[in-house]
Symmetry: C2
Subunit: 392 residues, 2 copies
Amino acid sequence: MDRQTLEQYRDIYRKGLLVDILPFWEKHAMDREDGGFMFCLDRDGSILDTDKGVWQTARYTWMVLSLYNEVEKREAWLDTGKHGIDFLEKHCHDVHGKLYFMVDKKGLPLRMRRYVYSEAFAAIAYGAYFRACGQEPYRQKAAETFTRFREYNETPGMIPSKYTAHRKMRSMGVPMIGIVTAQELRTNLQDESYTAYISTWIREIGKNFMNHQYQAVMETVGPNGELLDHFDGRTLNPGHAIEAAWFILREALHRNLDPELIRLGCTMLDWMWEIGWDKEYGGIYYFRDVKGLPVQEYWHDMKFWWPHNEAVIATLMAYLLTGDRKYAAWHREVHEWSFKHFPDPEYGEWYGYLHRDGSISVPLKGNIWKGPFHVPRMYYMAWKLCENLLNK
Amino acid sequence: MDRQTLEQYRDIYRKGLLVDILPFWEKHAMDREDGGFMFCLDRDGSILDTDKGVWQTARYTWMVLSLYNEVEKREAWLDTGKHGIDFLEKHCHDVHGKLYFMVDKKGLPLRMRRYVYSEAFAAIAYGAYFRACGQEPYRQKAAETFTRFREYNETPGMIPSKYTAHRKMRSMGVPMIGIVTAQELRTNLQDESYTAYISTWIREIGKNFMNHQYQAVMETVGPNGELLDHFDGRTLNPGHAIEAAWFILREALHRNLDPELIRLGCTMLDWMWEIGWDKEYGGIYYFRDVKGLPVQEYWHDMKFWWPHNEAVIATLMAYLLTGDRKYAAWHREVHEWSFKHFPDPEYGEWYGYLHRDGSISVPLKGNIWKGPFHVPRMYYMAWKLCENLLNK
């Protein structure tokens, strides 16, 4: 990529974040009456549902506090972060400290789920708040919430399995979210001890989820990484694997360009780009079958916002680390397809759910799954990656 | 509809059932090695997954035994039914008698679910087998399994709720499946006492799930039928409501053309045809929002096989009961759209999952959700409804 192209990309991402994406949520999501945020928003920002997702609450809180910590000490970002932290602390934990999945407008609990991803997202929110405000209890809260995430996932039986013991499974979600959570805490708590967890989880992915026969990153495998030749075991999630790829590439950056990690992260990206990129319509499929068979999940060929966000980051990061022009070309492909189809020129932000051909499935901007996380994180990280490339 | 048209439809349904649909499953699904059936089949009948869904096992067993009871005493149908009954009895109950959702090829349990629809489907399988073979223990099994379905659904807390007590909900699934289950048992066990349950469940639908303001049959409401103005509460399932409509119209047939039941069933069909029929591409949407807002479920605008099966039955039955030519016209519309898009002329049976425009999303013929139930039931019932209309 030449300098001019990089500058253009950098400006698109920086301005997009500050002028389009963040203002949409700042204007529409804040609930000053009952605290927290309402993310279930229609195309124009009007409220579709007042219920509050804990994932999105924690992730938006982390996002604005990260911008406060890393971009600029804007009081508004700190205030919004504090607003999110208050709601998380006041309403989102049950009596055992486990986090809910969803609460109502007033903060009354609506749904608890078996798994513990809310914990990972709350941990990074608390960690970013500690760095922003320096109050020691938040270091503690971040560390404790991370420990809870680990304990639930590492203690057999603590998360009730959907399947009986006759179908034992491992899911890539745990090590993958573990890596990025520990990376955030390592930085924001300034605690290198998190590196050991990251190494363990990266080994777990390398050992159990890399299927060399099919050249695919698996989502679900048997206890020793075996291919489970059933619908669930064969189902690949290219966007998810590409997101995991850049978590590992980011670790390579942290570890002085560790060549093993660069090889692992780039292999994951290479395999899943090949499997996930739709050669007919462009964009990244939601699910694929490792053997090319029909997928059971109905929305397998839709184009969701977040795999595209993750692929923009992953391709830029791979290009930064390797200089391989293939990654610059892939970045251009996914950037162009995404910016052609996802942004809403009239009301701002991105649509989340497109059909395979890029046409809009629903015009909403947020729901229980989509909030201000993947989109602003992409704009922010891609902006910084362009700066890194310009400074090389 | 004139006589000739009716005869044409009758022949399409009868021949389709006997020459296309049933042979597909008879040829490909039977597991002579481990018992039961493998329904997860690709377009050509090859096996995609050896796991066995309990819903489909019970429903196919019911289907073939119903044909044995009502169409012709073919030994092959009785044998297949016995084959299904054996597998259900041997492998599909846990130690408390609750039924699993999924077992593996050998019959080892894989998944139990909170809710108890497997019980309703097993009850009708046992009931049909009792009628076919006359063995008293199966009358008992059918009755007990139905009682378990009722107890789980009617005893607060016996099915753990997905939501906390802050969001109390009722779902139409329970009364609706209750009605058809009790209808089958009433006939096959020759026991009129099931009528009382049917009346209760029909009142429950009439009282709580008919939203006159929006002219919509709700899927999920508050404890007293209130509209829950959230994604879940607003989400309509037109195919499901149209299926419930014909369960009620069938009750009207049983009760000497009870005008109240005809009015209720036809209102449900009228409302949900208006909401569910895609005026641009044809076919029936999977989900719609009662206020016309964006739906949260990703596959909302896809065209699935079963809503079309249910609409073929419901429109024919409404025409039989009322003589209103509107229903004949709707029947023609849904019949033509369905037969244009769903059947596979090369390998037989129907595709299950189409995009909004009718193009194929996956070519498979069966999975954990799709098996030999809605399609053959439609062919069978529509054939018989055409005969009824011809004999009028």
